[in-house]
Subunit: 360 residues, 2 copies
Amino acid sequence: MQHDGIGVDVDAGEVGGSDADPLDIGAAQRGRGQTVTIRDVAKAAGVSPATVSRVMNNRESVAPELARRVQQTAASLGYRPSAVAQGLARGRTGLVAITVPDLGNPMFQSVLRGLSRAAGRDGYRLLVTDSHELPLEELVLAQESRLRADGLVLCSPRSHERELAELAHTIEPFVLVNRSVADLDAPTVSVDYASGMRAVCAHLAWLGHSRVAYLEGPRASIPNRERRETLQEAAEGRFELHVVECGSMLEDGFDAADRALATGATAIVGYNDLVALGAHGKLNEIGVRVPDQVSVVGFDDIPLSRYTAPRLTTVAIPQEELGREAWQRLAAMLRDEAPPADVCFTPRLEVRQSTGPAAR
Amino acid sequence: MQHDGIGVDVDAGEVGGSDADPLDIGAAQRGRGQTVTIRDVAKAAGVSPATVSRVMNNRESVAPELARRVQQTAASLGYRPSAVAQGLARGRTGLVAITVPDLGNPMFQSVLRGLSRAAGRDGYRLLVTDSHELPLEELVLAQESRLRADGLVLCSPRSHERELAELAHTIEPFVLVNRSVADLDAPTVSVDYASGMRAVCAHLAWLGHSRVAYLEGPRASIPNRERRETLQEAAEGRFELHVVECGSMLEDGFDAADRALATGATAIVGYNDLVALGAHGKLNEIGVRVPDQVSVVGFDDIPLSRYTAPRLTTVAIPQEELGREAWQRLAAMLRDEAPPADVCFTPRLEVRQSTGPAAR
DNA sequence: TTGTATGCGTTATCAC
DNA sequence: GTGATAACGCATACAA
């Protein structure tokens, strides 16, 4: 702020700078930052830009002593290579993009963390995009962020298969998390939701529940469809299932709780933990005791579900591992290698305190 | 994460990997993607690259008909401008970096969302970095991400004043959220935590609590210091205050609850909502009733605190607004304008169900 | 209105 | 080992 001259003209006409000002050597003609370029360092150190580049990248072929000198002048000038220019020259940005339906959902955060850690170890940074559960924006955002990154992780994409398949080539290389798409040979990391949901069913049936409400997730969500359908199948002959429109967020669950109760259900299964917790919040507010009067089940096992009162019974999925596995595949593709085979995790039912025998 | 220098990237040696492929002559020599460049479009449309550029950027000075033709050939070729090249040529990337101490904290997510929405409206995307509450990594990460973006938002920085001031010029332009730094004229968006904490004090005193435990946040956290000190001052003559080491996450609160109880406190104040909820989880587990036996107070008012059982009494801070205001200032700087004056929000005590009269 | 020629900051391919 | 120099893909003064 204080260093560089006040009011450096936005678009100084300096370009032709034939007048070599000793102080202001060919400075950037645009914007703030008195950008120190590789050339400035080269000039100051009395070497060629190529050599400076070699030194900065620890290329072996530089005389040790020269290297030190260059490093010193670089440091003294405060030289910092432009990531953008490097990106252009190298053909890679060192960035990996990821789009999620809702950054506010702890489940996606965990995936993010897994990805971030794994990619970070390889020197990659994350470009995060939140599509706000909007299928239409999703691919646009994905395309756009892919443009600034070397690869993309599509987390729980809500887009239609057709559009996804159509635009696939524009976001390549990418890997799918939480969803597989026919006609697409993109590496996929998924979870066997059906198995998890069947476990929930068995659990509730065993507890004697004869009427269950499912708080349905966003219509565009494939995991929701899989969970709902599995629930419907598995409910057959065990209990009556009522599907209640809901959503994916706390508020949605809160708002849907009434409708769930109206079905006479003694157990409520949420599309995810947030929805389940939202519903539980409502039950608490209107004095319905959990699990004495009504049982509540979530899905995902976000960190918080372990700390609520009562602790939430839920289906645990290996969230960080999803991120790690996704990176493993993307990294392979970035190296022009064949990615590891698709993987599908089997979730585990985490029985805690929010479920109990059916009230009678 | 790795320090810079060695092992900059795993695949450094690979670059030269594939040699001249007879198929993609003159095309990008590296990696996948048979990149369609502006030149290809120009050639195919029979115009100059400059014209294509004008068309792509909606410059007025192109004949309507020509423009359409160019657009069509561009579309048919599947041309998509390289964001990296644009960044280099324009001198701006369209990216804004933000570093937060913990992406897993809903409080920061809300700030993120506010920033994302505001910046998004101006065509900017977010480059998010999580410093994992590590003061040492923080600035390194910030510098690095700043290099790929046009500006930076430092959210609740944990770094020492000195280092921050020293490296300030390397991350400019930037704005501070949740912390002001003397000797630094960076635009700042903050919250008057002291006022919020005093409200908590008054509330607890009024409820008759004579012994209170504060679950302290990370040592490097300035907000923690401010909250703790305010609490200590305001406690004078009203109640006995015990400061308990804790942290910033759910687990930390859970683990610290025992120690808080051991002080004989009838009220527990958490550094933030997560910690408070974690502690509450523990209380629930060991059968201590909230608020009948022990009151619990949080800080931040994350969305979830409204849905817990009992609903959490907490200090509400305008999270999304922090993000919005931050962008307003950064945007101004990016336009070479003077940023709006610093702003400091006054939080509001949100009295809910987790606090009650002192148990006696 | 359109084309030409540079520049953006680095990397990489050559020669030397 | 080191130094010119051509990409990298796009934007933009300037000339036409």
